[in-house]
Symmetry: D2
């Protein structure tokens, strides 16, 4: 693709994103997150030829939040394999909000999917029996090609002090024997993974790694199995934007995961990784500026999965 | 009422209750409770004239379980008054099982009523800010006229080790600011209150105290305000038998509370207290023998609220 | 009871009711009902000695709406007996709004109780296989001692044109084989029964008939079996005020049924019947003025079921 | 792709599908559907180069059932455009069964998506204001390149006589003003569209038309706008297999729609159309043999959306 064309589209998309910021709000339920600068916006894009593009606040650190669910699912699939992971969590979009307890209690014996809190908590419970947090940080740094990723301790402590709802989910899973003991340690690991500091660039690198089926884009080293990445991209597509996933798939058509820290991780399969930072969120917890920008990028560059 | 008549009715009702035992099962989800003798049945009745009747296993100790919700509600009303209590918990039957989380999460910001786990956990959280467990034991002994009531430590430990679902409820309430901190202490107090050892006779005494509007039947001492007792009896009538409360009110017509330890506490207003022990439970957690026996007692002695 | 005392209490209660009117709204979802005069209030009371009391708009005709569910349940119990009726409908409070479909679809194979739309539709389907509408009008007139009760055709037509939700309920019941064919005829009968014109006085007479266990208060003729009346009064107590039934039972303690036409039918067992008209409704569909007035009447005259 | 390779894969997949048949059951809730031959299986595949492949019962007529939802959505998008269609129906997977009423009533004012009954009923209500059934048949024939498609009257009558649940949904939508009048005509049109007779070959042709972005594969005529087809394929991917859509997307990775008549319509974007007939269904209503066969076809030929 023509570099100038991409630059132009990114600039336009940045402006479109900026204009959408007032429609959203910075997450307020975690005190530390409320301190984010609502007007920030950064878009980083990197092609498989390793041409980097960026506009706006692409070096700003922010916490990865739910985007860590992608990393955790990757690691769980590598460690335990498909069958054992999906014995504890489903693959279905839930039609409900990210922190819903209802569906879990009412309709099923396992969380709907690994992209909502209940599913990710089940995954963290599996992970902590095999890996320590430090190992997970190392893996995250590799997948994002960003050695500066580290714990944001202020956010971590702030989230732990407001984690009642996640504890409720974890104990409910414990009562269903999906979480198997270590409830408090599970919540700690889950919250630490959410509290890792990344940048839009880190996420663009992660996206490219997934676009390339698990190969390090810089070294060619295999970081993840193709099967793992296939599964993760599909689940990002169907479940990555909470209960707005269906509309996002129709309108943008790229596997994408959002986090309430303002991040968006997006994959243009076999082609590009895109990372966005913008802390103004819609009512479903997705970055408003990023959604608007990605819709334009996808449309202008013809990136929709079913573009024709 | 004629003493011989009551004796005959109790004997018949005991036999009817015995015959119903095979329809139920002893509670199995708490290991210690599973040790109960399924064929046990005891019915104790005491009139306002202090004439005691009893048939079967009326001295057998068993844990009070959910019937402690009646005591806790009484104490909370005395300590905090009507408005403050019902600011944290509703008065509506829920149409759901005793340990449901769904309605709580979906439809309301507070538990439906104080007779289900979520409501009682909210009440215990209020109580622990004012009273210690020892004080609550003392009050329970007084209300039951039974100085031997004490903690069944085996049951307590067994329940604490299987309390995940109650912890889930408590943390969910914490996230809604209905429970205000001290989650673990709340669960401890809730579980200790459930683990008090009583007998059918203790419950008959408690029933008579409620029938008399809060007066100690033996000394005439006022233990509870009339207003407290009026509220508690009404809620027992509409919510005391979990999601079988409506049918029980129609068929038996007496304010009654069940516990999964096998107890039934029943009030014949202004006239009698009835306590029953029978650990074989129906699928809603209510004593099968006791239900059958009470239905016969109510019918034969004309005790239904709307008897005519 | 002292007549002067009752007169004074009614006058006070009327004023308390009047003051509550602004808190509610006239039902607007049925165009004809929206025409009611929001400030109307009438309270009629009649004792078993046949002493009538009344204050305000006690002769004003209004449509009985859901209070007809009481009449229909009485007739169904007389025609089919307890077992066959409760094979098609439950006896449990639902914890949900009067026109909810959710609980019906999700949790059960039959409507929760006969006081909500789904339950009453099931009852009407049974009735139409035995009786015509004219016979039901005749029975209603007798039970209310009011020969002038007749169909309000304007309301009937208005309701039939906005009956989509009730049709949805009826077809869902048909798919569950609770309603057995004749869906449209069932909706017609249901809606006609709701559209009968009564007065506060009619309802007071009906209340007294129920208070007396089914005897015509004027002639002593047995209109309903004692067993029928016992069941109906219990269900009115636990389910008569929709999802506000529990709180109403606690605060007022009288079997009562409301209708969105503004009516309240209340029973002081063995003593009195009370009928109220006031079209300003709370968000649950219960007459606000009537609720406030009844609470005061019950409290001042000591009528609560568990008064002591 | 190599023809011999495709032939071999289809033969293997046919055998794998055959072996899965006993895991399912023929739909029994519609009497006429219950007459299907459970052991039937046909797989038709056609490439963009118009090379046709087929194995088994590819000429057997069966009713299209829910696969007609794809045609109806296409026509609605062409007639009304994106905004007006999605004003009446959402784009989100529901996490619930195909005929659920709960989510509709509880959580939203419009059906979750056009691939479940409620959403399709909303679409048919829009269509009937613009087109007759005959026009829709003509369009269906064109899209399937099958002039023999016609109404199976026996199935149609059988379904109309058991359509209570769909009528319930339609009236509920009418009460929410999503369906706007003509409820019975809407149910008729919906049921007629479900009762069209197709073959596995018809569906393969339809799949190829969608794969080619709306062009008639034989004539090059534009039958549908690219934008319409993009939207429809995305929704088939996220919602096409009812509450098994997420797992199917992960495991097979092709936009696919199932019908309880036993059909599967599958799209290999830009490459192929696949049609399958096999009336043995899993508990979610999806063809068991077809699912197993498609999984193998996708895996062996590398057709998964995120294959790498």
């Amino acid at each position: 693709m023509d570099m100038q064309r991409i630059n132009n589209v990114l600039d336009n998309s940045y402006n479109i994103g900026k204009a959408a910021i007032p429609e959203g709000e910075v997450a307020s339920y975690i005190p530390e997150l409320a301190k984010a600068n609502k007007s920030d916006l950064g878009i980083a894009l990197i092609t498989r030829k390793l041409v980097p593009f960026s506009v706006g606040d692409c070096e700003t650190r922010f916490t990865v939040q739910s985007i860590s669910k992608v990393v955790s699912l990757c690691v769980a699939l590598e460690e335990y394999g498909f069958s054992r992971v999906f014995c504890n969590v489903g693959m279905e979009p839930s039609g409900e909000a990210f922190n819903s307890i209802v569906e879990l209690d009412l309709q099923s014996n396992k969380p709907f999917n690994p992209m909502i809190n209940s599913g990710a908590i089940a995954i963290e419970n599996m992970l902590l029996k095999r890996l320590g947090f430090d190992e997970l940080v190392t893996i995250t740094r590799k997948l994002c090609n960003d050695k500066d990723i580290s714990l944001n301790n202020d956010v971590y402590l702030s989230e732990m002090s407001t984690a009642s709802r996640n504890r409720a989910i974890a104990y409910l899973l414990d009562s269903k024997e999906i979480v198997k003991g270590d409830v408090e340690a599970t919540i700690e690991l889950y919250t630490k993974m959410c509290s890792l500091n990344v940048t839009a660039k880190s996420l663009a690198n992660l996206g490219l790694t997934l676009a390339l089926g698990g190969l390090n884009p810089y070294t060619g080293e295999r970081l993840l199995k193709p099967e793992t990445v296939k599964v993760v991209k599909t689940i990002m597509l169907t479940c990555g934007m909470y209960d707005g996933s269906g509309q996002f798939a129709v309108e943008v058509g790229l596997p994408t995961k959002s986090g309430v820290g303002g991040g968006l991780l997006s994959v243009v399969d076999k082609e590009m990784g895109i990372g966005i930072y913008g802390p103004s969120l819609d009512e479903k917890g997705n970055c408003v500026a990023g959604k608007a920008a990605l819709k334009n990028i996808s449309s202008e560059l013809g990136l929709h999965l079913f573009y024709s």
